[in-house]
Amino acid sequence: MATHFAALVIIIPLIAALFVPIIGWWKKGLCYPLVVAVLIVPLISSLGILNRVIESGPFSYYLGGWAPPWGIEYAIDYLNAFVLVIISAISLIVSIYSKKSVEKEMPEKVVPFYSLFLLLVTGLLGIVVTGDLFNVFVFLEIAALSCYALMAIGRDGAPFATFRYIIMGTIGASFYLLGVGYLYIITGSLNMLDVAQRLPEFYHSRVVLTAGVFMIVGIGLKMALYPLHAWAPNAYADAPSTVSGLVAPLMTKVAAYMMIRIMFTVFKPVFFVEIIPVTTILTWMAAVSIIVGSIYAIAQTDLKKMLSYSIVAQIGYIALGIGLANRSGLTGAVLHILNEAFTKGCVFLVAGAIVYKMGSCNINDFKDLYRKMPFTMSAFLIGAFSMVGIPPTCGFFSKIYLIMGAINAEKWIFVAVLLFSSILNVIYFFRVIKIAAFDEVIPDYSRTTPYITYRLDEVPLSMLIPILIMAAGILVCGIFSPEIINTVIQHIIPASF
C-alpha cells in the first residue's frame, strides 16, 4: 500500500471524477460527501510521500513497471512532495467549503461541477507528481480544460474573460510543448532526470537556448507574470467563488513549481544564470509585476478583482525569489508558494462568503461587516497581515527570506521594491478593513430607530470552518516555518547555491 501512495494521489480523484456523474444521476446530494471523502485520499497519500522522502530521501515510481527513460516515471523529491501536500490540503479545505456556495450559485449544475472539480485537482496533482516532460503537458491540459469550463460559468463577464484565458493558456501550453520538442530533438529523451543528465554538453547549442526560452515564456504565461498577465485578473475575478477559491491559490503556484523544476532540475542552474541571462530578466519582470499588480489592486473597488490583481503581485514575489537564484531567495520563493496558497485561499474564500451573504463584493458596501461577520472578517484580517508581512504570519518569514536573498545578491533595487510593495499591500488591504471595521454608519434620523442594529449574521458553518482552517494554516505555517525550512525546504535548494 505505502509503496503505491504515489500512484494513489492521481488515480483516486480521477476514478472518482468518473463516478461522480453516475452517482449524481442517481442521487444529487451524494456528490458533495463523495468529493470530500475522495479528496482525503490524496492528502493522506501525499503526507505519506512527504514522510517517506524525509525518512529515506527521493524515490521514483515506475508506471506500468517500465524503466525510465522508456516508460513514464514519477520522480519524487522534496519539492514534489511539499507541493503535493499543499495542493491536496487546499483542495480538501475548498471542497468542504463548496457545498453552500455551489448550491446557491449554480443549483442545477452541481453534478458536472463536482466532476470537473475533481478533474482539476487531478490535473494539478498530476503536473506536480510526474517526472516526464510530456506527461506534464497532458496533465497541464486536464487542469487547464477543467479550469476553463469552471471559470466560464461565473458572473457576467466570465465567458469572455475565459476565452482570453483559453487563447493565452493554449499559447503557453503550446510554447511549453515546443520547448519539450526541441529538448527531445537534442537529447532524444523525455524523462526529466535523463534530459538533465544528457543536456550539459549541449548548453551552448542554439536549440537548447530556444527550448529554454520557449519553456520559460510558456510557463510565464501560465503564471500570469507581467507582461503576460493580462488574462488573469478578469478570469479569476469573474469565476464562481468556489472556483476562484481553488484556482487562485493553486494554478499559478503549480506554474511556479514548474518553473523551479525546469530551471533547476531539467536545466542546471548554471544555464539560466550564466549562459543566458534569463534569471536577470525574470527578476526585473517580477519587480514590475509586484509594483504594477499592487497599483492596479489599489485602483479596484471590487474585492475579488482586487485580490486577482494581488495574485499578479504575489506571483512576482515567487518569480523574484526564483530569479535571484541564491539560497535565501529560493527558500523565500518556496516558502512563499506555501504562504500564498493558504493566504490567497483564505481571502478568496472570505470573498466568496461575502458574495454568499451580500450578493456582490463591492468594497464600498462593506460597512459594519465586522459586526455582522466577525469570524469571517477576522480570518480576512489574518490573511491581510500575511499579505503585508506582519509576524507571526507566514508572509513575514517568506518576505524576510526574499529580502535576504536580494541583499545577498546585492541587488538593492529589489530590496526597495519588496519593502515598497509591503506599503502598497497595506494600502489596499487596510482600506477594506477600514471600511468594514471603522466606518461609521450614518444615522438616519428620519426613521424611528436611527441606528440600524446589526445582528450577528455569519455564513453557515460549512463555509466558516474551512475559512478558519485556512487562517489557522497561515499562523501555523508562520510559527513552524523554521521547522518547515529545516526539514524540507533546505533540501530543495540546488547544491551549487
Binding site: A152, I167, T170, G181, L190
Partner: protein, 135 residues
C-alpha cells in the same frame, strides 16, 4: 544556401504555419478566427513533432514486417533500427491531437456562451458592450 534551406525545410514549413496561427490568435478581431488560428498553431506544433520522427534511407512505417509469430516465438528477433521510423513522436502527437480537439471543443462551448450574452462574436463590439454596461 539553397541546400541549407532544403535540408531543413520541415522546420521552415512549421515556423511559417506557427506564425500564421499565432498572428490569427493575437491580431484577428473575430473570436472564431482566433479559434481557427489556435488550431493552425497547434497543428504546426504537431507537424513539427511528426517531422522529428522521420528517418531517411529506406525507413518505413513502424509496424513489424515479416512473420510476427515466428519472431515473437523465438525471443529476441534481430530488428534493424534503421528500417523503421521513430515511433515515439507519433505516439506523443496522438495525445496532442486529442488535447487540441478537446481544447477546441471547450473553446467553442465558451463561444456559444459569449454569443448568448453579447449577441455578437466581434471583439470590438463586445468590448464596446462591456464598456457601456460595465461588465
Amino acid at each position: 544556401m539553397l541546400e541549407y534551406i532544403i535540408s531543413k525545410y520541415n522546420f521552415w514549413v512549421y515556423i511559417i504555419l506557427l506564425l500564421i496561427g499565432l498572428y490569427a490568435m493575437l491580431g484577428k478581431k473575430n473570436l472564431v478566427k482566433k479559434l481557427i488560428g489556435m488550431n493552425i498553431f497547434q497543428s504546426a506544433v504537431i507537424l513539427f513533432y511528426v517531422s522529428i520522427g522521420v528517418k531517411k534511407g529506406g525507413a518505413t512505417v513502424p509496424i513489424f514486417m515479416g512473420d510476427a509469430h515466428a519472431a515473437h516465438g523465438h525471443g529476441q528477433a534481430i530488428i534493424d533500427v534503421a528500417s523503421y521510423i521513430n515511433p515515439l513522436p507519433h505516439v506523443l502527437m496522438l495525445t496532442a491531437i486529442v488535447v487540441s480537439i478537446a481544447t477546441t471543443g471547450v473553446a467553442l462551448a465558451v463561444l456559444i456562451l459569449i454569443f448568448r450574452r453579447y449577441k455578437t462574436l466581434e471583439l470590438d463590439e463586445i468590448i464596446k458592450i462591456r464598456k457601456d454596461t460595465g461588465v
